[in-house]
Amino acid sequence: MVETALVDWSRLQFALTAGYHWIFVPLTLGLAVIMATMESIYVKTGDEFWKKTAKFWMKLFAINFAVGIATGIILEFEFGTNWSNYSWFVGDIFGAPLAIEGIFAFFMEATFFAVMFFGWDKVSKRFHLAATWLTGIGAAISAIWILIANAWMQHPVGMEFNPDTVRHEMVDFWALVLNPVAISKFFHSVFSGWMTGAIFVIGISCWYLLRKRERRFALASIRVAAIVGIVGTFAVMFSGDSSGVHAAKYQPMKLAAAEGLEKGGEGAPFSIVPGVEIPGMLSVLATHDIDGYVPGIEDILDGYTTSDGVSYPSAEEKIARGKSAIEAFGRYRELRDSNPEEAAAAREVLDANIDYFGYGYIDSRDELVPPVDLIYWAFRVMVGLGGALLLLMFVVLWAERRKRLEDMRWLLWIALLSIPLVYIAGQAGWIVAEVGRQPWVIEGLLPVKAAVSSVSVGAVKTTFFLFVAIFTLFLAIEMRIMIKAIKHGPNIEQ
């Protein structure tokens, strides 16, 4: 049995790396749309002001991109070193998407990114505009593959386990790509990037207004960013709604934990904060039916039957079936050459219980419950900040349209101080998604404690603190370059 400390440090290291990576990705996704919209206005109107405006935000885009580039590669290092059992067990589900992402992103970025920065006076306006949009579209598309892989871990479809190779093999490419969890995850992540980009642009523009600088530039930027951000936030809400439905269907424990719901039932209430509930609302969100059945944590552990008669076994039964699967797996591997008949019988047992394979590593039912308080509050931070930022964008846009924004200094300050909040909301979202699926690295198939490599805790600790130092240094460098660029400003004549 592996040490708990090894699992915890490996998880902490992965969370740190993924969290750091997600500082840069959403801003890339969001700023790309905002600057491309600004350049579109320039191409349509021929007004040089919009060209200069777009160019300034492109500069900040480039700084963010330069610091964020390759931060995702570290995750691949960790897969190979700290999560080798997992990396092998999942087959090509991660290797292929990450390779496609790497190659695709490289070629998209090497061509369109270069045209975007080097091509202002060398290619036609329309060609340049196409390159700018394609840079943003390429960034979003390159996110698809990693999110498909992530969604497979939340809801494994389209792959089958081969006990001979100890790997999962793809049997249905389209089931994998069109995994409903992947689709909602993709839109939810990309549009949350639009929110991040919008709040970033609005916040910095408000700083210029507070300093009484770059007035026309700031107001125009706020207008574009607020519209992009509002559209993005509504898309986040719709995709978040389908994420909730998918969680209810495929990861009911995650949903129950996010709600702190011990006992569920029909007409389940939605908890706003502890003690304040909206009756029936959770059922509406999870099943789109006010009388829909939503299981609580205890129900999931005890086993339950849904309104439409589908029964789910108890934790104890799942654990027993998981142990049968692992035992049959070992027996199959032992006998496959010496006794094919016995091996075939073992294989049948394995196939019959494969959906519960990971439960065989679980020692007690308590292990199946993720950290409820963390997920509960992370969910409320995400939703609460998302709602507050949507309201902020509406108010800022309204004030700008009414030509009152510059006089409302309190609002300018709130917008500026909201920049970190949008990042906190994004990180909280990933905490819900990733901590919420604990103890699983692959839902039902592999818990984290079976996925981790047999490496020393000391080695993982060393690289963890190394990352903390490197990440802090790079983040400080980025912020320094970014702040310098912002202070310098676009220098557009008023």
Partner: protein, 69 residues
């Protein structure tokens, strides 16, 4: 064809030559790539299954998965 390749080459060369603030970003990217691939990959992140054939990897992971029950 040759002319197109030369034009693309010149496009990149001119672009890099005319960079101003972009230069420090390229240095930053270079520094990061060195840290990632030379320091981290080279010294700290040796793939656990490196040097094993696919069959040996199957055996190793199969053993790990059955022994951790």
């Amino acid at each position: 064809m040759k002319r197109t390749i030369v034009n693309i080459w010149n496009f990149y060369v001119d672009g890099f030559k005319q960079m101003t603030w972009g230069r420090q970003l390229w240095w930053l990217i270079l520094l990061k790539i060195i840290i990632l691939f030379v320091l981290l990959r080279g010294f700290f992140f040796k793939p656990t299954l490196a040097g094993k054939s696919d069959e040996q990897r199957s055996e190793y992971v199969g053993y790990q998965l059955t022994e951790r029950e």
